[in-house]
Symmetry: C2
């Protein structure tokens, strides 16, 4: 979803842009990294989804490209840590429990992203509010908060919980530089607070997406034991591409977090960062957000 163009735009605006490898093959990832290098001279990262069949090859590719930062999701990156740290890459695993955070620290992670289950995509059980302080207590490396952060209030709250920074996904889906189909952006903008659903819990790897005929059907089938786990897995194949590339409102799986309900406008990546930081600074300086 996040490619070289969006990642470079975020890095140029003062954030740390991250290219999402998702289920893509290593060639695609290398190409996007090379492209991002032509679009920014700032550091950027690559997120590696460890459940991808290409995870191993992508891991090698990012080491070869010596990207500044690698983040990992949907699993334990331990087997790749040495490869990356040897290439002077700062590794920031996305973790959903204190046990995984401690393991990451022991393996040489530079920081961890503590991601709550309100996020889009692959999610854990704990929420940002409960996960961030517990991980801050468990490790000594910096903790980046993720999940449910869509404006300056969320940024300020994350700092109160002990985070050293924030990771923002859903709001950048509607960044002008984000290459997803316009239907995807429109669906995020139209989402209500209760607009997302979590599916895949029965398979042990839940995923949060916007409610569509596809996701509602998948949810219902999870409670039907006449549908096998293999059938459930098969239902999801290709659905991400149908959403992001084709904008298929029926069969697409539109990954997004619960904060989609709060997101109201398309903006450039730079404006998103500027707005969020300005709001957070004002609130942290004592602006009375809570006085009605």
């Amino acid at each position: 979803m996040s490619d070289a163009v969006l990642a470079a735009a975020v890095s140029n605006a003062g954030g740390l842009g991250v290219i999402a490898a998702g289920n893509a093959p290593a060639d695609y990832v290398s190409e996007q990294v090379k492209k991002a290098k032509t679009l920014t001279d700032k550091p950027f990262g690559v997120n590696i989804m460890l459940l991808s069949p290409h995870a191993g090859a992508v891991a090698e590719a990012v080491a070869e490209e010596a990207v500044a930062v690698v983040t990992t999701g949907a699993g334990n990156p331990q087997s790749y840590m040495k490869l990356w740290t040897d290439a002077n890459i700062k590794v920031i695993p996305v973790v959903a429990s204190t046990a995984l955070a401690k393991m990451a620290q022991r393996s040489g992670a530079a920081a961890v992203v503590a991601e709550g289950g309100e996020s889009g995509g692959h999610i854990g059980e704990l929420t940002t509010m409960t996960l961030v302080p517990q991980i801050c207590d468990a490790v000594d490396i910096p903790v980046v908060a993720a999940g449910g952060i869509g404006d300056g209030r969320g940024v300020a709250a994350a700092f109160m919980l002990g985070a050293a920074g924030v990771q923002v996904g859903t709001r950048f889906l509607v960044a002008r530089e984000c290459g997803v189909h316009q239907n995807y952006k429109d669906k995020v903008l139209a989402a209500r607070d209760i607009g997302t659903i979590s599916t895949g819990k029965r398979l042990g790897h839940p995923v949060r997406s916007l409610k569509t005929p596809f996701s509602r059907d998948l949810f219902a089938k999870e409670y039907d034991s006449s549908v096998s786990n293999e059938e459930l897995e098969a239902l999801g194949v290709g659905a991400l591409k149908l959403a992001a590339v084709d904008g298929d409102m029926e069969k697409g799986c539109f990954l997004a977090g619960q904060i989609a309900g709060m997101i109201q406008k398309e903006q450039t990546a730079g404006d998103i960062i500027e707005d969020m930081m300005r709001e957070a600074e004002a609130i942290l300086k004592g602006a009375p957000v809570w006085v009605k």
Copy 2:
């Protein structure tokens, strides 16, 4: 779980103590209210669980007792609003969506509790991080944040999200004045971050509790369509009492939120409130919680 003794202790310490009516009959609730009145001259509230078979009678009872505050959970309190506001009771519904928050405001609610799904007991889908700001944007009455708040960091974060106050449940389970079985308290104190589980989603009213043989079995049976909804419902009957009164570690349903993993010691209700508020004040004044 929260009775006259705990509610009065919380009110005497400067909080707003709340007696939980749960599934109890109206006589019990009236008796607890009368008892609390002898233990404190401060305002206190009663929480009415709207799925209780006794909800209607309890609603009448609290109106007769003219308690200061009624909070409601697990449903829409609209049909009782007039009864309570006519008795000069401030009604503060616990809500899990912006739609319900707006409906509460229209019906004369004095405030709402925006409760995230990291809470213990009956829960909604949205998390505290995503629910609180969206509800703050949706209504003009004060918003109290609940779910995942177990120390001063959580209190400070809630204020950043726009809350005017916080509701804390799980941490008071280990208050010295809380009357649950010692096994229940020990289980909260021993809980890890991943120590809770949400069951009942298939039935449409999910409940969060500590992992026990009972709750794990219930979770597994939800995905077994040979188990009927009626059988699932029947499995839960009596399990709360087995936890709170008998401390039955096998068959009890120990309601608790995800923040249980952070709770480390038994204290008086007064000390809990003092600690949380002192921490929150320090953090809000700029204490560097996020500097490692």
